[in-house]
């Protein structure tokens, strides 16, 4: 009996050791690569190609689309300009405050502000009286401008750190439209306007340039095809009826900031050989 008991205990112990050894071997040879099905963030990242840093306009729209279609319950998404740019009115005009998304100050920046007075869009071509443009350099992350703030005007703020360019557009919500339809090449993208709208002029907003550029365009039905310039980030369309609209070419800012941060990275958005930097955060709900 005793021998049998001892034998049985020994067997059990050996079995445990054997299993432990098998386990140790398995654990040691398993690679560190993650199966894409196991984690949502990884799955989202690989399917939207967020692995790359270089993005085209089309890919940013696909990113938003993929998020909204499949991941908006389990993840949060934050797609914004690379810096946190705030534009506020002051007593003497306006002020631009630039911080990184980790709340730091960048020690050297080039900031320009372009103001497009929208009342000049209604019935004529934009001229120098409808534009105000100022540029400055700052080492404290903020700068004052003598451009006054009017909530019905469009402001394009460009921020550059050497060749790290980013921008933001401040415009009234009632004229902003998400009409842009991206495609793989800039030759076949277009703006889909509401039916009944006839465009009579288009302007391109190119953040690093001092004024909007009038562009050539054609309209067939609801589709407006515009000849873009490299670096065009938005369009201003004016119509025969005196209305005007701002159409963004990039889906920024996109703010579905819920959950905790899983990934924060920069994207280099290549718009026909001109690079603008964006920041993207993927969050887990």
């Amino acid at each position: 009996m005793i021998y049998r008991l001892v034998a049985e205990i020994a067997c059990t112990l050996m079995l445990i050791v054997l299993i432990a050894a098998i386990y140790a071997r398995q654990a040691s040879i398993t690679s560190l690569m993650i199966s894409s099905l196991s984690v949502d963030v990884v799955s989202f990242t690989s399917r939207t190609k967020l692995y790359s840093s270089m993005f085209t306009i089309n890919k940013t729209w696909e990113l938003i689309e993929m998020y909204e279609d499949e991941f908006n319950h389990t993840l949060g998404l934050f797609l914004v300009p690379a810096f946190n740019i705030t534009f506020i009115p002051t007593a003497t005009g306006s002020k631009v405050i630039v911080r990184t998304w980790s709340k730091h100050i960048i020690p050297f920046l080039n900031i320009t502000v372009l103001r497009i007075i929208t009342s000049g869009l209604t019935d004529k071509v934009i001229d120098s009286t409808d534009i105000e443009y100022k540029e400055t350099e700052t080492s404290v992350g903020e700068a004052d401008f003598s451009i006054s703030y009017n909530s019905s005007d469009i402001y394009v703020i460009f921020v550059g750190l050497y060749r790290f360019y980013t921008y933001t557009i401040v415009a009234p919500e009632n004229i902003t439209r998400q009409w842009y339809v991206a495609s793989n090449t800039s030759k076949t993208d277009y703006i889909e306007v509401e039916s009944g709208i006839t465009v009579n002029r288009t302007y391109l907003i190119i953040p690093h340039y001092k004024e909007p550029v009038e562009a050539n365009w054609t309209q067939s039905g609801n589709r407006v095809y515009v000849d873009e310039e490299p670096g065009t980030v938005a369009y201003i369309l004016t119509t025969d009826t005196g209305e005007y609209f701002l159409v963004n070419r990039l889906p920024i800012p996109y703010i579905a900031r819920k959950g905790s941060v899983e990934l924060f990275k920069y994207l280099i958005c290549n718009i026909d050989n001109v690079n603008y930097m964006l920041a993207v955060e993927v969050r887990k709900v």
Binding site: I16, T30, V41, Y51, M54, T100, S102, Y162, K265
Partner: protein, 145 residues
């Protein structure tokens, strides 16, 4: 009776095995998650530093005459640390190493707690400057304890 006993032992052993597996693998996944995230963020930051040429405006002044004094090096490291820390994601430790084509370390700037990080990942980007040469940028991001 014996059969039951043996069955019980078998189930016990399997359960023990499965529990051990799950626990360790989960931990590994957690660690791997962190590593994976830091790797992507570091690569993206290195790439952005290269393409925006930010570092090289700082280096150009110093490297134009070919040699760097200790004082210039200190100043440069401080400035680079400031910029890279500002651009890095929140709550990470940062280390930047820039190596030239002769494998000399030109820049070695880091935040104080980088060596105490549990997990760290390095992203690399190669950068060629038309005046001062070819460099490799290595950005290490670390998650502190």
């Amino acid at each position: 009776m014996k059969a039951l006993e043996l069955a019980l032992i078998a189930i016990l052993l399997v359960t023990l095995y499965a529990t051990l597996c799950t626990r360790t693998l989960s931990m590994k996944l957690a660690l791997e998650n962190d590593y994976w995230r830091l790797k992507h963020e570091a690569t993206s930051l290195a790439r952005v530093l290269a393409d925006s040429e930010v570092l090289f405006y700082l280096l150009e002044e110093v490297l134009k005459d070919g040699t760097i004094t200790a004082q210039e090096r200190e100043y440069m490291n401080n400035r680079i640390r400031t910029i890279v820390t500002a651009l890095a994601p929140p709550n990470v430790e940062v280390k930047v190493i820039v190596v030239d084509s002769n494998y000399n370390t030109i820049v070695n700037a880091s935040t104080p707690l980088i060596n105490e990080c549990l997990t760290a990942a390095t992203g690399k980007a190669i950068y060629t400057h038309s005046l001062i040469g070819i460099f490799l940028i290595m950005v290490t991001l670390g998650r502190p304890l």
